[in-house]
């Protein structure tokens, strides 16, 4: 089967005053269509660089990034992005914020259809009745929901989430996890989630990629079982505990706090 996202042997370094700073070195990630991969790793290991590469906002020094059988050479309209900072435009209503990508990307939707779609997405994430509000009138979690709708409005093949829930409190974050599952059921997409939260990584994804410390390479891949944790209660089962343990151990290796073992089978 062809993978929708294919990252092969990607290397990248930033030019700094004290010479090149390698951030990625030998990155391998593949995500099948409709799949959802979480990327975890120590702070500053190049996770955000990865999102920029997939979004076509920058080119790797070496290696290849493929989306849907095409090599990524620049920005593509088939990508949706959401960041930790929801970056909503304060001078627009929530509805107009969600519609923003359709002003850039060519669309077959009429103005009315586009608005209907935006309202549908907003209701999907529980923001019904907030369409005409300004972003400053919404809480942090609600703004993040709106940002999610904006990332999905143009029906992207790939949704890139760069720590979108990182700045939210624990309960709001869990709410949003449930929202993500509800959204994915109605609006299929292939997802890449950057996160620091191991519970979040197994809860949302079917594949967790652990990156090593800088320069990052793919250190470990955990395949989350198909049935596995999809409700909040599932996160407190022995299976989930075992997966989290494996991931925690891998993070410790990545941070250099535990000795590396033999390569994974």
């Amino acid at each position: 089967m062809q993978n929708l996202i294919e990252i092969k042997g990607v290397r990248h370094a930033y030019q700094t005053d004290s010479g090149p700073l390698p951030v990625l070195d030998g990155l391998e990630i593949s995500v099948p269509e409709g799949g959802f991969v979480s990327v975890v790793g120590p702070s500053g290991c190049g996770k955000s660089t990865l999102t920029r590469l997939v979004a076509g906002l920058m080119k790797p020094d070496a290696g290849e990034v493929w989306l849907h059988g095409e090599r990524v050479k620049g920005p593509r309209a088939t990508v949706g992005m959401a960041f930790q900072n929801p970056v909503l435009l304060e001078w627009r209503s929530i509805l107009k914020n969600v519609l923003l990508p359709l002003e850039i990307v060519p669309t077959k939707l009429s103005k009315k259809q586009a608005e209907e779609r935006a309202r549908f997405l907003l209701s999907l994430v529980g923001l019904e009745g907030f369409e005409e509000k300004r972003p400053s009138e919404l809480s942090g979690g609600m703004r993040q929901r709106a940002s999610l709708c904006r990332a999905l409005i143009h029906q992207p093949e790939v949704l890139i989430l760069d720590e979108p829930f990182g700045a939210l409190d624990a309960f709001t974050r869990e709410d949003l996890w449930m929202t993500m599952h509800a959204v994915k059921e109605r609006e299929p997409f292939t997802g890449v989630l950057i996160t620091h939260d191991l519970r979040e990584s197994i809860f949302l994804a079917d594949q967790v990629v652990v990156l090593s410390g800088r320069p990052a390479r793919t250190q470990y891949v955990l395949n989350v079982p198909k049935h596995g944790p999809r409700t909040l209660d599932d996160l407190y089962t022995p299976e989930a505990a075992e997966q989290l343990n494996i991931l925690r151990h891998q993070i410790e290796i990545a941070q250099g706090r535990a000795p590396a073992e033999e390569a994974q089978p």
Binding site: P75, R76, V79, M81, F83, N85, W91, I104, V105, R134
Partner: protein
Amino acid sequence: MTAQNTLRSVGVPIVAIILFLLFWEWLVWFHGWPTFKMAAPSDLPPAYQRHWDLFLTMGWQTLWRTVVGLLLAVIFGMILGMIMGFSRIMRDALYPLLVGFNAIPKATVVPIVALMFVGQHDFNTVLLAFMISFFPIAVSVSIGLSTLEPEYRDILRALGASQATIFWKIALPKTLPEFFGALKVAVTLAFIGTNLMEIVSPHGRGLGALFDSGRTNSDFPLMFAVLIALAFLGIVLYYVVVALEKIFAGWAERSPG
């Protein structure tokens, strides 16, 4: 509620102005100052009455030249701010020049400009109003653009938007609050520019020339009357900017609490 708010927003400033005039009147009366030392508010109405026609024509001259200078400052300041906001190299190159230019006292520029364009009174006055007021606009726009968070750019860039689209849809509206802040400063500066030209190099036009004629004729109440007229024009123009800000950047205002 709203009626009460309107009453407050109009009533409070008016009461404050009346109190100020009363204090001024009392101050002059208490010290027994003659008009050549300081005219009292009660001396002003006769001055206005005597020269009302002059106040109208010269006030208009001052006003339109200030506004034209200000408009030029807005256009030039925004272009300069955009150049410096988008290009690091241009910012490094232009900043010292700009600061140096701004540091020159504009009173020293007046005779130079007056000699450079002899007889072009309207042009000279507009030029000075422009020169003195574009600086804050250029700086605020450049800072607004250069401090735009990269994520704002990325959400549009990831969709393949051009630099121009990013500017119109995000960078420009996001800079508007800073721009209007600078415009409020620029309004008063532009008045200073206009009047500098009118007073230092008088050519019979504008309130500055009226002020100068009050000085040569020892008509002291007239001088004070001109000052008050200038303050009045300044207030009017300032509130025009405030109204524009409400329309174009009202979103940036948050209700307190």
